[in-house]
C-alpha cells in the first residue's frame, strides 16, 4: 500500500504524518497525528492537495508596473504551474480594482484569477500626492 509521509501544518507542533492509501487513492489510515485536525490534514493533503496561487500581472498606464493577483479559492496543487503559465505575459490596462477578475476559471480550474491590489491611472495619483 502506498505510504505518503507529511509534516502536519495545522499547528506549530508539526507532527510527522504517515498516510496509507489503497491503489485507488483512498485513505486507509493516518498515523502520527496527535489530533483530529492532523488526521483531516493528512487525508486531504495525501489525496487532493490544494493551494492558493499568488503572483503579479503587468499593468499599462498605471502608477505601478504590476498588480498583485491571486486565485479566488484554492486550485489543485498539480495545477500551480499551469496557472502560472496562463497568467505569464498578461497585461491589463489601469485602473485595476481590488477583486477585479483578470482571468476567469484560470487554467481550466474552478477559480478565477483576481486582482489583490489597486493600481490607479498614472495621472490620477499625482493629484492625490498630498491628500490632506
Amino acid at each position: 500500500m502506498p505510504i505518503t509521509e507529511l509534516v502536519c501544518i495545522s499547528c506549530p507542533l508539526g507532527c510527522p504524518l504517515r498516510v496509507e492509501t489503497d491503489g485507488a487513492g483512498r485513505v486507509i489510515a493516518v498515523t502520527g497525528n496527535t489530533c483530529k485536525r492532523g488526521e483531516d490534514y493528512g487525508r486531504r493533503e495525501a489525496t487532493t492537495p490544494m493551494r492558493t496561487v499568488t503572483s503579479t500581472v503587468g499593468v499599462t498606464g498605471g502608477t505601478a508596473p504590476v498588480a498583485a493577483v491571486r486565485t479566488r479559492g484554492e486550485v489543485p496543487k498539480n495545477k500551480i504551474f499551469a496557472v502560472m503559465e496562463a497568467l505569464r505575459g498578461v497585461i491589463v490596462p489601469a485602473p485595476v480594482e481590488l477583486g477585479q477578475v483578470i482571468i476567469p476559471h484560470i487554467a481550466g480550474t474552478d477559480a478565477d484569477l483576481i486582482a489583490t491590489q489597486r493600481v490607479e491611472r498614472r495621472e490620477a495619483q499625482e493629484e492625490n500626492q498630498f491628500a490632506e
Binding site: 507529511l6 509534516v7 502536519c8 501544518i9 499547528c11 506549530p12 507542533l13 508539526g14 493551494r51 492558493t52 496561487v53 499568488t54 503572483s55 503579479t56 503587468g58 502608477t63 505601478a64 508596473p65 504590476v66 498583485a68 493577483v69 491571486r70 496543487k77 500551480i80 504551474f81 502560472m84 481590488l98 489583490t116 491590489q117 489597486r118 495619483q125 500626492q129 498630498f130 491628500a131 490632506e132
Partner: protein
Amino acid sequence: MDRELVIIGGGPAGLAAAIAAREAGVRDLLVLEREKELGGILNQCIHNGFGLHTFQEELTGPEYAARYIDRAQALGIPYRLSTTVVDLQRQEAGLAVATVSKGEGLVQINARAVILAMGCRERPRGALNIPGARPAGIFSAGTAQRLVNREGWLPGKRVVILGSGDIGLIMARRMTLEGARVLCVAELMPYSGGLKRNIVQCLQDYDIPLKLSHTVVDIRGRERVEGVTLARVDESLRPIPGTEEELDCDTLLLSVGLLPENELSKAAGVALSPVTGGPLVDESLETGTPGVFACGNVLHVHDLVDYVSEEAAQAGRSAAAYLQGKPSAPSRRDIPLTPCGAVRYTVPAFVDPARMPEEVTVRFRVGRGLRGAVVTVRAGGRELLRRKRPVMAPGEMEQLTLKRQWLTGDEAALEICAQEAKEGEPSCQ
C-alpha cells in the same frame, strides 16, 4: 505647522494607530509615509495568509492593507506620502518632527505627541561577515521581493538563499514560480526560524532542499555572482573544514533577520531594549520619552500582522488618552517585567498598577524551542498565572493577559517565565 499627534509610518502599525486615535477623539493628526503610497511592507507581501485572526479569512498583504487604508480614508485621516522624517527632537512642549519631501522641501512639524511606527529593516550582508568578493547579485530577500512583486523584475535565474526566515522561504517559492531555479536554502542553525507552513508550501512543494547547519563561506564572481561555497557548521556554528560544497549561481538572497528601525527614536533620546532593538515601553506603549509611543515592528519584530494591528490600536488609544489628559495617576510607579527561563523579552517592559487598565496584553518571545512548556507569572514567591503550552518556538510570538486585580502595587518585579515542565519549578529570581 502644529499638530496634536504625528504618526511616523503609514504601514499596518501607523494605519491602525491613526484609526484608533481618531476613533478615540483625536481630530488633529497626521500620518507621514516615505513611500508613494500607504500600506508599508504589506504592498510587496503578495502571498496569502494575512488576517486570519482579525477577519477570519485569508487575505494577501495588499488586501489586508486595503482594509485599513479604506478605513483611514473613510475617517478622513490626513496623510503625507513621499515624505521622510529625518529628525525627531524633544522640545519645550512636545516634539519637533523634521520632514523632507520633493514638493515642500524641509518642513518642521511641532507635535504634542508622536507614535513611532517606522517598522523594521533587514539585516544586511555587512552584518554577517561573509568573506569573498563583492559582485552584483547579492540581495536581501525583501529587496528581491520588492523587485519581483512591485517592480516586475526577476533579479536572477540560479539562486541560493542564505537564512530560512519566512521572507527567504516565501521568496524561494516566488522565484521558482517566476522561472528561476532555487538550488537550496541554507540555514546556519540546526532548525528553521520559519513557519512550518512555509517550509512545506514554499520548499517541499517545489523540492527545494533546506540545508540546516550550513552557511555560505565564500562568494565568487567579479562583476556578477558566479557561485558560492557552502559548508556545514559545528555546534558552535563554525564551518567544518572539508565539508565545502561549490554551487554555481548568479544570485544570493539573504534572509537573516530583521532589525527595528530606530534611528529617529535614538535622536529623540528614547531608551531602547538591547534585546529587541526597539523602545522600552510601559503598559500604554509609551516610551521613556513622554508623549512618544511605539507600536509594530519598530517596537519588536512580529510574526503576524494581526498582532501589529492590535498593538498599534492600543498605541493610538493611549496617545489619545495622553492628549486628552486622562488618567495620569499622580504617583507613577513602574514595576519591571523580568524575563526568565526561555523568555527573551517582554512588551511592555514595565507596568504601572495605578495607571494600567483591568487587563494588559503582554507579548513575548522565547529564545529556544520548548515542548511541554509551562508559562508562569510570579511576583516574588507568589504565582499569579500558570499556563501550559504544548509547544513554543522562537519564531512565534507568544502572549498572556496580565490582570490589574492580581497586583498589590508593592511588587518589586513580575517574573515572566517559560520553561519545559520537566525542568522543574522556575528557579530564576
